[in-house]
């Protein structure tokens, strides 16, 4: 049973961008929402896209306070240059005096602790926004990191926490998370406390290489994963390779989505839920996904 107390947490990831992660997240969420209450979360906070498709009505807006970063009080600073010498992130810039390049500062506070004049403060700043919204499919938590900011992992964590709260409030049985690309901090944060990772792979050599790396990542964190091949008929050779590889690893292929010209067309008109062959295949994958997810829960 999917219960509100303990909702199923699905995270859609891809390693490589542009493989159809958002398309799959949205269509799958639509499929589940036909039978269960769901909450959606967009954890691709660098380049969030799900909201474009879902056209949410924003109910609440929160500020995202990032990690504290250093700031030099020039009235106290004696230009001794110790901070400049110590900083390993090239975040202290010398330009007739010293100041902090906040995009490079990682908030380690070494300069703050070391400054003999106590001229450095660690300050919190708004580094993004989090939105709690309403969509036709259910509550939706999304966010945007201000351009050039770091620490998207922390923002991803907050989005997920809020999604959990929304799930409790609305009695949702599943949380569908559109994860971040890559294999670093944001995607690791996206995957924390996930019951099942759905890896969307594209049958290109790049797609294959990225899928292998992202599966190594889920294996590393011991998160159960399944694979969905998008545009599987684009290159049957590589698709077969993906299937063989998954078989060796004991990872199930839950869907083989055909190349469907109508998807970019529907997307450009923002016609959602999607229709057609590709959309159907995504929806059909739900039964298998649910079985596996329940077993790994």
């Amino acid at each position: 049973m999917l219960t509100a107390e303990n909702p199923l947490r699905l995270t859609i990831i891809s390693g490589k961008g542009g493989t159809g992660k958002t398309t799959v997240s949205a269509q799958l969420a639509y499929r589940i929402s036909k039978v269960r209450r769901i909450v959606l979360a967009d954890c691709d906070v660098d380049a969030p896209n799900l909201h474009i498709l879902l056209k949410p009505k924003i109910l609440e807006e929160k500020e995202f306070i990032g990690m504290k970063k250093a700031k030099i009080d020039s009235s106290k600073c004696t230009n001794c240059g110790l901070c400049y010498e110590l900083c390993r992130f090239d975040a202290i810039v010398e330009d007739s005096g010293y100041y902090i390049d906040s995009t490079s500062c990682e908030g380690c506070a070494l300069c703050y602790h070391a400054c003999p004049e106590k001229a450095i403060e660690m300050i919190e700043e708004t580094r993004g926004k989090i939105y709690i919204s309403e969509t036709k499919l259910g509550p939706f938590v999304h966010a945007i990191l201000f351009p050039g900011e770091e620490n998207s992992g922390k923002l991803v964590m907050e989005v997920k926490e809020l999604a959990k709260v929304e799930a409790e409030k609305s009695g949702a049985a599943a949380i569908v998370v559109d994860g971040a690309p890559g294999i670093g901090c944001p995607v690791i944060a996206s995957l924390a406390n996930t019951d099942l990772a759905i890896v969307v792979a594209e049958p290109t050599l790049s797609g294959l290489s990225d899928m292998i790396r992202v599966l190594e990542l889920t294996e590393h964190f011991r998160i159960s994963s399944v694979v969905m091949i998008n545009k599987f008929d684009l290159n049957i050779d590589v698709s077969n390779k993906i299937e063989r590889l998954c078989k060796e690893k004991g990872i199930e292929i839950v869907g083989k989505i055909p190349f469907d010209d109508s998807i970019p067309e529907q997307m450009s008109k923002l016609e959602f839920p999607f229709k057609g062959r590709a959309a159907e295949e995504i929806e059909n994958s739900w039964d298998t996904i649910m079985d596996i997810a329940m077993n790994s829960k």
Binding site: T19, G184, P264
Partner: protein, 266 residues
């Protein structure tokens, strides 16, 4: 001159553009997308690899368990137990605060491998340098920084996707930024985010539209935002198939024109 090829959204054709630009102009390619390096698929050759490390702390015998290291660590990477210190290297940011601030000078730094930098040679010439981050590492930035240390004067850079720290770190070093987008509402949305970052860094940039011909009118929208379109790659299943097999488009005219336009702008 260094040209960085970036895009907010992944999968829009960043690697297609950077790899083809490099192939057509003969300028060396650097793949800074160290989380998912892909350019290597298009440039086969002899590989020479070196490991990349970052420093992480270790406790020496003269530690008095005073706990200063834990207090100063902003990343929760240090725990003080009754009789020992536990350090979690994988979440350590290598800032050096614990080592510097330890009142007993009881901490040393050791090297932790975080990835590799690989040079690809063809006919004795290095045509590509790419980085590869180890699985489980959190930040690609130290590897990108290492790669930036010895770059050739002329370079084409395949940047990490997104618009946060790894992308900024990559774009910072460039003289010109090519932003690759496709005609979809998603891609245009992310293009705007990336363009804002590039503007903030005060870098000149131009847009290349991949899959040109899809119904979404991105041209009009770019015009409205005052983005100059410096190239178009038509939507063609043939290109998608080529890419899937790891083949370059290598259209001298198409990519040569993009390059010429960049030179003109600069």
């Amino acid at each position: 001159m260094k040209i960085a090829v970036a895009s907010g959204k992944g999968g829009t054709g960043k690697t297609t553009v950077s790899a083809n630009l490099s192939a057509v102009t003969g300028i060396k390619l650097y793949d800074f997308d160290v989380e998912e390096p892909n350019a290597k698929i298009f440039f086969k050759g002899n590989e020479k690899s070196r490991d990349v490390y970052r420093p992480v702390p270790e406790v020496k015998e003269n530690c008095t368990l005073c706990g200063v290291c834990r207090e100063v660590c902003q990343y929760n990477a240090i725990v003080v137990l009754k009789d020992s210190i536990m350090i979690f290297h994988e979440i350590c940011h290598s800032c050096g605060a614990c080592v510097y601030l330890c009142p007993e000078k009881a901490m040393d730094e050791v090297k932790r491998k975080i990835g590799e930098i690989i040079d690809v040679y063809k006919n004795g010439k290095c045509i590509l340098t790419y980085g590869k981050m180890d699985i489980g590492e959190v930040s690609p930035v130290p590897i990108i920084k290492e790669m930036k240390k010895d770059m050739e004067k002329n370079a084409i850079i395949d940047c990490p996707p997104g618009a946060s720290c790894p992308m900024v770190e990559s774009v910072k070093t460039a003289d010109f930024v090519v932003l690759v987008a496709e005609p979809t509402p998603f891609s245009f949305h992310d293009l705007k985010i990336a363009a804002n970052v590039v503007k903030e860094l005060k870098k000149p940039f131009g847009v290349v539209i991949n899959k040109y011909g899809l119904p979404y009118n991105i041209e009009e929208r770019c015009k409205k935002e005052n983005y100059e379109i410096i190239g178009k790659i038509p939507f063609d299943r043939k290109f998608a198939e080529k890419y899937s097999k790891g083949e370059l488009i290598k259209d001298k005219e198409m990519f040569g024109e993009i390059y010429d336009r960049i030179l003109e702008i600069l």
